[in-house]
Amino acid sequence: MKKNAFYLFMGSIALILLAVFWYSVEIHNPLFIEVAFIVGIVLVYYAKTRVTDLIDDERSAKITEQAMLRTFQVFWVVFCAFSIGAVMQILYVPQFPRDYLANKPHELLSPKLMGYFQLSLLCLMIFLYVGFRIYYARKYGDWETDEE
């Protein structure tokens, strides 16, 4: 498989996943998109091993490695900080439950809202990774030009 064919295949997978996502929403069954997502990613990984003109050398591996490392270093701190907040709210047992229920304080972030926030953090992780990848690609000379 050629590189361009692989990119087209990847685009098709993304479109199919989007369609499956909407179908899952329509029938209100998350199982479809969950299974489809795993199958889609496995297919992409498999197709990548069949690409003949894509050279993945040690410099590109290092760029990926460094970008991943920095993304996780930032991500786990932010993710854990908010997750700890959610766990604190779940574990909280009021000393005087009757008073607490009568005058229930307004929750800044409910556990459900915290779940949405964690999901958005996962999506933001992609942008963080892209940012770090651009930084390291530039650092290791991806956009250097030469006389040749």
Binding site: I55, D57, E58, R59, G141, E144, E148
Partner: protein, 71 residues
């Protein structure tokens, strides 16, 4: 780490693309090494020097003196 890849390429009349294909990396990697933006692994350094049939020290020089020092 300094290197003389550009010199050896010129001696062998090779383009960056030719050398990259011969040792299985991208042209951008050869360019990055030549410009000092990327320090190759020991394995890649050996592959480059063996391709030119010289010792690794003839292609790569360890630059241990900080700039502005010396006798």
């Amino acid at each position: 780490m300094k290197n003389k890849i550009k010199v050896f390429r010129a001696m062998h009349d090779l383009t960056q693309e030719d050398l990259a294909q011969a040792i299985g990396v991208t042209r951008q990697t050869i360019l990055a090494i030549e410009k000092g933006k990327y320090v190759p692994s020991l394995d890649l350094a050996f592959r480059i020097s063996r391709y030119f049939r010289v010792n690794i020290e003839e292609v790569f020089m360890y630059d241990d003196e900080p700039a502005g020092t010396g006798p």
